[in-house]
């Protein structure tokens, strides 16, 4: 047997429409480990990658939003199963990015549990948030939730996997599709998580994952007319203001989840699902 072997390093690419292409721009940025060595060259996603992702997300929306709550729950559960099977890979990626082993193990376990949590909500949130409304006319009046459409997610900067999962899961369990910009400084797990999604019967285009610079892409997330909601997890008041202003053109939902502790039990709840839902109220005539 040969004593020396050249290790095969993984090329981290973006996840777009169920495929793993390189960024169309051909640009990269080096990702450094805590000791300064280069871990990987990450794709520096461009606004055109973002545009293509929105097209993919839009075309996946009709099918995904029409799938049954039961199926969506099954698929989320499947993602959790796949993540469990690749537990060690994610732990070692987190450690590589400078987190202690103990914390890394905890973060991966919490991510799996979070997926199970939202899988369970798939066929229950509708009952919690829907209502039959009393009206003073001969109508049966009821309100139900419908997914808003394509959701842009600027994932939390300081939580590589758990923050990512905690924001994607409530969006897709509600029948939305999404375009996600991974943490700029901790992007490794995002692309490995895309491989998990790819192996979990999540239809192509339902989740699209980009890596790149927030300062470059944030405005695109906020201004794109075919994005129905934008979720952001970092930034100061000034950034928050800019996002809201740019989002006003097509009256996007702007959902700020800044400074959230994603490891807390408090950061998982069905309200996160309802935030990217629309309420449809129906007036149905009834006999006098």
């Amino acid at each position: 047997m040969a004593e020396t072997r050249i290790p095969v390093a993984k090329t981290y690419k973006i996840y777009l429409g169920g495929k793993f292409p390189r960024t169309e721009s051909g640009r990269y940025f080096p990702l450094n480990a805590a000791d300064g060595t280069v871990i990987a060259n990450m794709c520096r996603g461009s606004r055109k990658d973002f545009r293509n992702s929105v097209v993919a997300a839009r075309s996946a929306f009709a099918g995904w939003s029409a799938s049954t709550a039961y199926l969506r729950g099954q698929i989320l559960y499947r993602i959790a199963e796949m993540l469990e099977g690749r537990n060690e890979q994610f732990v070692s990626e987190l450690v590589l990015q400078g987190i202690s082993k103990r914390k890394a193990v905890k973060e991966v376990e919490a991510s799996i549990d979070r997926l199970i949590y939202y899988a369970g909500w798939s066929d229950k949130y509708q009952q919690i948030f829907s209502s039959v409304n009393p009206v003073s006319s001969s109508h049966f009046n009821f309100s139900v939730l419908e997914p808003t459409g394509v959701v842009g997610i600027l994932a939390p900067e300081n939580s590589s996997l758990l923050g990512l999962v905690s924001n994607i899961a409530p969006v897709i369990v509600g029948g939305n599709t999404c375009v996600v910009l991974a943490s700029e400084s901790l992007p490794l797990c995002a692309i490995s998580f895309a491989e998990v999604l790819h192996a979990s019967d999540v239809p192509g285009g339902v989740v699209n994952l980009l890596t790149g610079f927030k300062d470059e892409l944030r405005d695109q997330f906020a201004s794109h007319m075919d994005v129905n909601a934008v979720v952001f997890c970092d930034g100061d008041a000034e950034i928050s203001k800019i996002i809201q202003e740019k989002a006003a053109d097509n009256v996007k939902h702007v959902i700020s989840r800044r400074d959230q502790d994603w490891s807390s039990e408090m950061s998982q709840n069905p309200y996160l699902i309802s935030e990217t839902q629309e309420t449809k109220t129906t007036w149905h005539p009834i006999g006098s």
């Binding site: 545009r51 929105v54 839009r58 695109q220 201004s223 794109h224 007319m225 075919d226 053109d249 097509n250």
Partner: protein, 308 residues
Amino acid sequence: MSIAAVPNDVRMPDMSQVALVDEVGVKERAARFQTRSIKKESKIEALQMVLSMIDLTTLEGMDTPGKVKQLCQKAIHLHDAVPDLPHVAAVCVYPTMVGVAKKALGDHNINVASVATAFPSGMAPRQIKLEETRIAVDDGADEIDMVISRGAFLQGEYGFVFDEIAAIKEACGKAHLKVILETGELGTLDRVRRASVLAMHAGADFIKTSTGKIQPAATLPVTLVMLQAIRDFYYETGKMIGMKPAGGISNSKLAIHYLVMLRETLGSAWMTPEWYRFGASSLANDVLMQLQKQATGVYQSADYFSKD
């Protein structure tokens, strides 16, 4: 069948002399057009040119007068939010809808094109094809899109196909004739070239790739072969023939690449709606969204554009 209707100056070409096509070379050349980058002002001009060349099309069994009227409204009011937009070249419909389209378009200077000759299969006796053509023209069609008999062509009955095109041309009267080769059923680029030559000699004003009902429809290599045939026909006879790729061109970027190919193969004389068309239904909205993006800097959503 009598060919007395064929004018004397129309002569069938010697089909054994039609140039053969270098398939690999054509594909490489076609691929290279897609590497051109057209930006900023050039892009806006190209997009407006694409709009002006579109034959806005609805050819479905479920078409109704209402649907055709809606399409005509779209042709007239592409996107009123953007001032000074060009209008499309024509609206393309089935013969039974020509009257409806003609009336709906009024005097907006948009042509009515009608498919005819038992579109899309072309499997009907010649009298019926001729009659259908006459009816469409009588109802006001400015342009006729005919299909060739691919079965006869593939059997090598070039004379039959030639006579058929010439007879339909005669029946068209003043209306322009576009000849659909249905390249997806011809199989090889050699046959595409041969069918192009045959159609041009028989009196086609335009040659057109596809019905849109067969895959593959228009592709860059097929269109390139047809453009080259048009160029050589022009050198030979001095007559300009128009080109219409149709089917499968649904985004602006690809449409611009088609224009690049047109410019580099036939030159700028052909770059008007008089000599070049796109047969498409969903292309117009994509172009409009791109134009709006250029104007506002913001990526657009189909939610804010009329349905096509």
